[in-house]
Amino acid sequence: MENILVKVEDISIQYKSITAVKNLSFDVKHGEIFAIIGPNGAGKTSAVECIEGLRQPTSGEIKVFGMTPHKNRKHIYQKIGIQLQEADYPDKIKVHELCKYYAAFYKNPADWRLVLQQLDLEKRAKTLVKKLSGGEKRKLSILLALLPKPQLLILDELTTGLDPEARRMIWQSLAHIRDSGTSIILVSHYLDEIEYLANRLLYLVDGENKFVGTLKEFRQFAKKQLAEKWNEQYTLEQIYLHLSPKKSNLRLEVLS
């Protein structure tokens, strides 16, 4: 029997008059990288924040390790590592101090010196966090998420704003983490990243589940949707752009 870590059942999230997520259901299994894709405002972060227990769904139910996240935050946070889409750190703190700070939160934390070494950040240990480059800051956010020795890692737009080299370095780190047995929920706009890393994906549009399954199944789904426009050579990004409900009218010749 497959080991299900996260079970999302028919959740909806409402902000005043706006429905961010509608009747969403999916699950995340042990040892997989589960990607969530979709355009801006599709409800990806709202859904993930409900799994993290930072928000409560308006209706429906979420179980993480069999527990309701917002009611069992203290227990759940001992088992999951989180990287938020938008979060910062105190201005005048150094890398090694921030590691000590976060390690103090957990009962049995990972050795942050070792993780610092594994993520190639040990030379920056005495640097102020605000002086780190974008790529180094992202690595640091992975490090902090790894401190609880998590069984599940939730990463929200981890590589946004990074150069291609830094992104690929982070992909390698994530592949290592997955291979060590940690499941990952990965929210991303980069389809090459999903193609490289993910086992299964959820495609959200306007808060609705358009597809959930493996990458191979997603290609079959897209083939049906695109009918005669389908091309076997399409990359995941090309498929995504063809499926996108917000097709851009911008023509390149306008720019030239």
């Binding site: 930072l54 935050r73 203290k74 938020l84 910062d88 000590k100 939160f105």
Partner: protein
């Protein structure tokens, strides 16, 4: 407990690394004390009812330190951490933001008391300052004053929609109270208009209360000050907490 100690130590380091907080908590009141001491000395004066300039200045400078931590360091940190979603990240850990905020309050209170100690030591060593006050009365007055001024800073962060607005409220209130409450210049030098203005400033009652208990007056001689400070503490804490419940931390 070990967890709280580690976080407390790191938050203390962060406090001391902030130049503004460090300078105005420790250096500025002491420099002011030395400056006034070198000009006026600490000889008994009729102007201060038979006490020396430094005798009456020390409790006033203690009020100044409470102003720095309560109206600047603590609320500005709170607003900065909230706006930059630092608390949100803490909320995604087993301890949560509430625990961190309580530690930050503890660090700021400790720094306030450390500022008092530095000031008292310098006063004692350089100007032979002694106090006739009862230790319990002085401690009670100091703690009530700290709690009240901190509650005002907390209230500012609750009503302000962003850190810019918090900065404005904190800087304005701090500098107005610094100069018009008797914390920097003795109220004996104020005109009638300034004295009237000072009656509307909470720090004025802190200065009066501290100067009183430091010279050996009883707490019961300051019922009005105690009641006023208590009322401000309760109202700012309760209204601030209600407003915070409605804030979106996510």
């Amino acid at each position: 407990m070990k967890q709280a100690i580690t976080i407390f130590q790191l938050e203390t380091k962060l406090y001391l690394r902030d130049f503004f907080s460090f300078f105005f908590t420790f250096a500025f009141p002491t420099l002011l004390l030395i400056l006034y001491g070198s000009i006026y000395g600490n000889e008994p004066s009729d102007f201060f009812g038979g006490r020396g300039t430094i005798d009456v200045s020390i409790p006033a400078y203690c009020a100044m330190i409470i102003g720095v931590t309560g109206l600047m360091a603590f609320p500005l940190t709170l607003a900065h951490y909230k706006e930059h979603r630092i608390y949100k990240r803490f909320d995604a850990t087993p301890v949560g933001k509430g625990f961190i905020i309580w530690i930050q309050i503890a660090v700021n209170v400790m720094m306030t008391i450390a500022g008092f100690i530095v000031l008292l030591l310098v006063g004692n060593i350089l100007y032979d300052v002694t106090f006739d006050g009862n230790l319990f009365a002085i401690s009670f007055a100091m703690l009530l004053s700290i709690a009240t001024i901190f509650s005002i800073g907390f209230f500012f962060t609750a009503i302000a929609r962003d850190s810019k607005m918090t900065n404005l409220l904190c800087y304005l209130s701090y500098f107005i109270m610094l100069f018009l409450s008797g914390a920097t210049m003795p109220k004996e030098m104020f005109s009638d208009t300034l004295l009237t203005v000072s009656k509307f400033l909470p720090l004025t009652y802190v200065v009066d209360l501290l100067q009183g208990v430091f010279t050996g007056d009883l707490l019961t001689d300051y019922t009005v000050e105690l009641l006023l400070l208590g009322a401000i503490l309760l109202s700012c804490s309760i209204v601030g907490a209600i407003l915070y419940r409605r804030k979106n931390w996510v």
